[in-house]
Symmetry: C4
Subunit: 218 residues, 4 copies
Amino acid sequence: MQLPAMGLVIYTFGNVSMADRNHGIFAIKPSGVPYSDMKPSDMVIVDFEGKTVEGKMNPSSDTQTHAFLFRSWPALAGISHTHSTYAVAWAQAEKDIPILGTTHADHLASDIPCCPPLNDEMIKGNYELETGKLIVNTFREKKLSPEDIEMVLVANHGPFTWGPTAEKAVYNSAILENLAKIALLTLQVNPSVPRLKESLIHKHYRRKHGDDAYYGQK
Amino acid sequence: MQLPAMGLVIYTFGNVSMADRNHGIFAIKPSGVPYSDMKPSDMVIVDFEGKTVEGKMNPSSDTQTHAFLFRSWPALAGISHTHSTYAVAWAQAEKDIPILGTTHADHLASDIPCCPPLNDEMIKGNYELETGKLIVNTFREKKLSPEDIEMVLVANHGPFTWGPTAEKAVYNSAILENLAKIALLTLQVNPSVPRLKESLIHKHYRRKHGDDAYYGQK
Amino acid sequence: MQLPAMGLVIYTFGNVSMADRNHGIFAIKPSGVPYSDMKPSDMVIVDFEGKTVEGKMNPSSDTQTHAFLFRSWPALAGISHTHSTYAVAWAQAEKDIPILGTTHADHLASDIPCCPPLNDEMIKGNYELETGKLIVNTFREKKLSPEDIEMVLVANHGPFTWGPTAEKAVYNSAILENLAKIALLTLQVNPSVPRLKESLIHKHYRRKHGDDAYYGQK
Amino acid sequence: MQLPAMGLVIYTFGNVSMADRNHGIFAIKPSGVPYSDMKPSDMVIVDFEGKTVEGKMNPSSDTQTHAFLFRSWPALAGISHTHSTYAVAWAQAEKDIPILGTTHADHLASDIPCCPPLNDEMIKGNYELETGKLIVNTFREKKLSPEDIEMVLVANHGPFTWGPTAEKAVYNSAILENLAKIALLTLQVNPSVPRLKESLIHKHYRRKHGDDAYYGQK
């Protein structure tokens, strides 16, 4: 319910899932139900192969994408997918969001990757499963870790974000939208601004992440 | 009342109508009345020729446009007209909104058409009737179906949306505004991004529409 | 109080006045008082020469501008001045807002004029009085009527709007901000879009204004 | 709490401090605590060397920046740091915000300065202290007074604002965001608009500041 409250989705757009890794299942939003009508009992329980194990409603049409990410990446227990305005604009533009400042580096130490478009075979096959595979392959090829970079853009489509909990996944959806908006405005002020330099990326990311982090409470 | 709540209109802007096809009539917003003052009893009942059959107030000045669309397109039972910011910007720019991503393809499988400007004769004649004719002619010439594409821009003016109910027509007003904003931002990120490819348009549209749709609940 | 509610001002920005023409006086916002703290008894009563006749507080620093407009233009009984974002952007850009669509023509049948910058002599003299004179001179030179065009941009500064009541003046502030935003977005979609043609300007303006108007209720 | 209410921060972003100059200490937001969870007793009391003197939580990670500003500039008793969208965009773009209108001149009589990027040595050293030094050095080199100009952009990072109270510091954060947005839009309307001329800068700034000010109440 935080997605519409934060202005990240309208009507039935988007979906969130939360996994129980001990039982190899996850709960996901039912397909096409407006947030304003949704009840906790409407959530559908699905296994990591994407098969419904409990619930009367159809799960989100993006369920196979969630399932593939859960079974590929053991650290994940929450996934969020929105059509938030600025993140979708970058995805439709088929562009990585460049790291241009410390607000970005506070959250991840690289550009936000944009997967290449799916080819016709992927689209005509099991589309949602292929979307999941494309995300995992993009991370593998670019040598990115889904524990360090908890967000991705799927070209022509929009953002997926994740984390160790559903709350963190939704938080990352809001952060991504914020970073997407600031990056666009930055380039409007100065189209030739360079990428943030490595020393500052490392400094800000390390303030919040890793053994020598000193941001936050113990 | 959803139009001002969704931020799609201010003050007296815009109008919505809902038809009763069995009786060949429709209810429409009274002209120039602010949403904040409007009562259900203010709605005006009009026949498909645009003549008032019940109600003490003047109907919307755009009544002839609504009437012509209802009598030309039997599947319609609701029409919504707003001056929402981004949709009006595209209409004033006299441009179709290109289909650039799956958020768009979830709702329609083509660009959002922009009718050409009315000529002087149309403007000086029965202007609102001519606006209706222009919309219907544009769809006929471009071989578009009003059941598949429930929205249009009238050049220099703004958007009209419709559907099988008034609720769906208003929903389409909100979707159109969202698509108009994302399309403008996408082109700001990457002015040379190509139109979405046909296989992906078809895939996303078919997820939600037609016999093999698998989005939503039965 | 509608100015902050409509998002047109923050903190102490802007001011509104309302004249009683029978007594040759007007009430105006006190200077530098936040809207959130303001009480009706804080309003200052001023004559058309700008001298305080009742009230313990200093009137708005723009009082001489209001006074000059009231004594130059007999039809006015309300004036509103904001620093609303998009209208100020056009004023700072020293550009008339071109008439690009019917939303604009519904309210006025011309571009929204931007006065030229004040020269150094005007600025160092009675600045606020000179601002009023500049507005009136601009309308005289461009042969514009303040009854037809109830809004102006002062270059480098921002918008003033007016009308036969304070409510109408504030309404015009909101309309101007809306037109300023849509015009900027229109030019971002299509930088070479032409000005709206005269027949359509005339048609839309006349739907709402003059003897043959048919918009609204009798 | 005004920072999230004004839309200037989300989640845990940003921080505010308020100094007691008689005792040489200041209260500052605890590090990484969401505004929605924060209690008055969570605030941390720190001396002007940045050492915690009271409180169980870790102070903001930016504490050394605040401490250095307090000990360098005696007139300050409040500092606010946000990641507000438009101010961050200008900071990431490494650009001063040019003074383009009277809304800006009402608050300060110069461009809003953007400090140059920190060099690698500064970043790898005591980063937050170096940020404070960079701000103070930038003001010294440009011969700017922190009593006249209560705001700065740190390149690649974002805005810091201050004042004689914490309330004024937060007010300045909101004003800066407003000026940053209007300046960007102004340049989108007219990329070649010149800087505001000195006579008008002086006039508007002097209406509100100094012995001959006539804005506000006595």
